[in-house]
Symmetry: C3
Subunit: 455 residues, 3 copies
């Protein structure tokens, strides 16, 4: 795509080849899957280095102890090895087999424990005996192992050697940004969390969609500045917001991307504003995508939309996923692996994001230059010359809607909603009418106004 | 009716004798049916002359070439004869049998054509082999014939003589107005298109209902000025609006009448304003009419509401029909004939219009003169004196509603909507309460305010 | 309860022991049941004296002839005896058996009548032959008897002596008030009608719930002043409002209590304002009460909400009942007796009122003191320290909702509605967050604002 002359983003879905995108999106997950990530440490750095091979990232290292609003950047955690071994030295539980085996942020330990002492340090899922749960303890200093219920059953008697070769020391929290400047400094935020270890849907899926999105948007003309954040969940978003309060004020629209690779139906969770332009663009996109979808009201739990939508910021940031976190059975277990995520689902998710971006880019307010009665479209070749038996066609209907509602108070998205027509069609006929000097764009007229105009 | 002393329009349904109305409405269609109408020409003039026998019309002739907003008044079309004949002179297709046989606005032609040359000039409906379609080409100069599929089948071989003895020359566009002055100069517009040739439902039905309505409203006292337009569709409405911009500003309410004679359920299509007083009056009327009905949102296609509701006018003009245009199988075919339309359906349609007019005439805002606690209705003979076991009756409930909501902010229609009572009952008890000096009308208080008050 | 240190009303449901309340509520009805009440007279006085044994009432006597808005206080009615006897002196219909036998407000009469003359003075319910109807004639001077259909059947032949030993003379209308002062002079009105004779659900049930409510609220700290009215229906409310116009302006919330003892599902009828804080509190309470319920729109018929919600007052007064008046088969008949009302239903009704009061007392607006991003709840022991597999618990979700929406524009009730959480939980976590200095109350910030904020 990059060898093409700049095109407008609003022809967005056309920017993507679905089959090639599916392959690229999945392959990136395969590479990132083995890395043991956390909210700090070398796993995040390795993840960002891999992304940096495709996107020119700006990486920030924020020192332990830095105050960020009500929080403090924690010590940095790194881990090299961990195991539970019997006295013969045979590893019963081995970090090298799955980095989920260690409670994330476990302090270092080397000890010999009886089976019963060890049991109290283990987490498993009794009714799903083959899965390792994912556990963290970022702010309560402790250690533990996550095991399958079958592994726990093996520990009935005797003593065991446990080792967690980790470090929990002053260091840094790492995150990265990638910015694609647009015609304006108004920003579209794309945020993905990079703190989960070997879990695919949550959230290598969000990361890989964000990377492909950035690559697709790079060569095209953009109205908005696109701001990609690859950050540890919660503390990363809080840190970025604390260090970028002024910049956050430029954010007009945003999406938190997570859990975008499972085969479930897509889900959009509204921003706190509930009916912001991003919310309406996403709902419109999902409604027209031709498959089932879910639209959820905002709630203050979930991923980093919690922070972007805190009352002091109240940004128009929604969240796109397929099956929402916590609602797919593999969630936060070892079953969230390379089998759960699918290239086709990832590509479909990327397509939805492109459609949403296309609406946000293409929305605007127009003024009908012949507001009294209809203009004569037929004379301009815009209307079938022969009337009578038969239906008015889609494009003609869209033109009549755009002309009728282009009174300076309705955006194209308002019009698409009221007319129940695809935004892409409304956008296209608006351009046609503009070329025929039947319509003119209202300067500064304002996709942001949005809202209830069309209701 | 006209020998009665003036009564208020709001006793509107009582103005009509259904059986007599059914006969009158249908008989008028029978007379108008044979005329070959178009958007200009002698067919329109003959139609208006027939109407003028009942209503004193003011007829306007607007010259070809007159600029009307983005349009130009076209040349005038007239036709005397047309046929397709075999070389023996036998007419296979004959305008005298049905004026639908000629594409409306066909330029004159006399020629001998092979069957295959002729085929490209024919329009038929393959899956409805006995019907002639209705086709027009007002703004693309061409000619053609509309035939049944069976007629087309007869033309397999040989040569044919075709003749369209029409003229397409500078002349005039003709329309007519009939005005019934009211107590105020605020207007209620009733618009019907007169441009379709021998088609009954579309739109002799609208014309005949408008004529009977004008006759019924003539002898009664009217709050609004009623402005009847008999105009060619689209170009006629555009022409009238272009020549009457100032007058259009007086239009407070309006109805486009079309397709009012088929046996289908009545349909109201809202104005662009969506919830104007006319919209609410029509929806209320249909809901209480005791048979199924359809309420449609505004869309910028249909009949002349397209022009009245263009953004530069945005008039509160809705559209009343039975089965909407394009949705009955006979639409724009020769099956839209004297068998499709029924006197009883026409009379029911006229009754609905009268009910709507009754609401618009009778609506108003009142002030409860005893706003603190209820007045003692029983003392005035307005309330059953013996309480206890049993229900409060309808009129008593209506009185309590009118008293409770007559705070200067609710119209009677607001009250009827909130109380889920018939407007006619609310109107009647308001008059009773006014007579007992429990209520007074708010001067200028305003049916126009209308809107969401009752929602 | 009264020996406890003052607690806040908003822990309201805890103020009540359901079993003890059921006994107390029912026992009070048993004592009040025999009294023959009317809109004036000694029956009302006896009723108020019984209440006065538990609550310190302020009793008012308003003279016959006093003008109260559009009404006049009527003559006082008292009755000692009444009967229909055959000529042997045997009483066929006897007031001493049921005070429903006399049309309430019957003028005195002593006469000998034929059976057919008598028939015209009788009221019965043909299709319910064992029930005595309840009839009144407050403002039409007449007399009559209410009998069972079986009693009427006994009167086929002969003559009868009728006696109504009543008086209808200048006197007084009696009502009582009980006021529990609060931290503010803003009032919560609790109104029950005391004019029905031996009918239990209508309205000894409302009276007994009001009395127990007053007793439970007496010892606790109250934000609002609670104003209990025990008044004759309609004329009593009108009289009180006419004499207390200034005081009525202090009423911020109110409930009319009636028909609270039958086993039917609870019903809340909205105030005229429709979505006032009292309306929202009641709807929220009923929705969370764990059993079926009915919410009705306001209508200007019913009990004294008719007067409180007249347009000149338009007070935020709703009505709580179980099966609404007129909708239970025993309504206004002798079957509305001690068998119809149940202690458990009365106690459930009292609990609902306490919950509603708890919301009104506990509602308020707060400001998140860390509005940018979430505060670190875990550090304060307010959040589970170990994340990962599993759900966020209810209290944590409630804290996040309160923090997210405490922007000065949402009340706690707004938050409970939007979060679909119990108000009591939202209230509790708001207090916890306030203790941790994460939230502060907005002074004067205003439960009254209420309304659509949470919609």
């Amino acid at each position: 795509m990059s060898d093409l002359a700049p095109v407008r983003v609003d022809a967005s879905r056309g920017l993507m080849d679905p089959a090639a995108a599916a392959r690229e999106l999945y392959a990136r997950i395969v590479e990132l899957y083995p890395i043991c990530r956390s909210i700090t440490g070398d796993g995040v750095r390795a993840t960002l280095e891999r992304i940096n091979r495709e996107l020119n990232l700006s990486v920030a290292e924020i020192a332990t102890g830095t105050r960020v609003f009500d929080w403090v950047v924690p010590q940095e955690w790194n881990i090299r090895d961990a195991y539970i071994a019997d006295l013969s030295g045979r590893r019963i539980v081995d970090f090298k087999e799955s980095n989920l085996h260690v409670v994330n942020y476990s302090e270092p330990v080397r000890a010999r424990l009886t089976a019963s002492e060890l049991q109290s340090r283990l987490f498993s899922i009794p009714d799903r005996p083959d899965l390792i749960p994912y556990k963290t303890s970022y702010y309560g200093r402790t250690w533990g192992f996550c095991v399958t219920e079958r592994q726990r059953a093996q520990l009935r008697d005797g003593e065991f050697d446990v080792c967690i070769d980790s470090s929990l020391e002053d260091g840094h929290l790492t995150f990265a940004e990638h910015v694609l400047p647009g015609d304006t400094t108004d920003e579209f935020l794309v945020s993905s969390h990079v703190c989960h270890p070997s879990l695919c849907n949550d959230n290598l899926s969000g990361i890989t969609v964000a990377v492909s999105l950035a690559r697709l948007l790079a060569p095209v003309r953009r109205r908005y500045t696109y701001h990609f954040l690859f950050i540890p969940g919660t503390i990363g978003a809080i840190t970025w917001l604390a260090l970028n309060e002024g910049r956050a004020a430029n954010i007009r629209h945003g999406l938190v991307l997570s859990c975008l690779g499972d085969p479930g139906a897509p889900t959009y969770k509204r921003s706190r504003q509930s009916n912001a332009e991003i919310d309406r663009a996403a709902v419109h996109t999902l409604a027209l995508a031709g498959h089932p979808n879910r639209v959820r009201e905002f709630s203050p739990y979930g991923y980093d939309e919690r922070q972007y939508c805190s009352p002091g910021f109240d940004l128009a940031v929604g969240s796109l996923s397929r099956t929402p976190h916590g609602e797919f059975p593999e969630y936060h277990t070892s079953a969230d692996n390379l089998s759960l995520v699918q290239g086709s689902a990832l590509a479909d998710s990327l397509g939805l994001v492109l459609d949403i971006v296309g609406i946000i880019e293409g929305n605007g307010t127009y003024l009908n230059l012949n507001p009294r009665c209809e203009p004569q479209l037929g004379r301009r070749g815009l209307y079938a010359s022969m009337g009578g038996h038969g239906d008015t066609r889609g494009a003609e209907q869209a033109m009549l809607w755009v002309l009728n509602l282009s009174d300076g108070h309705h955006t194209l998205l308002d019009i698409a909603e009221r007319a129940r027509l695809p935004f892409s069609l409304v956008r296209r006929v608006a351009s046609t009418l503009e070329e025929h000097e039947l319509l003119r764009s209202v300067p500064g007229g304002s996709a942001h106004a949005g809202g209830g105009g069309g209701r």
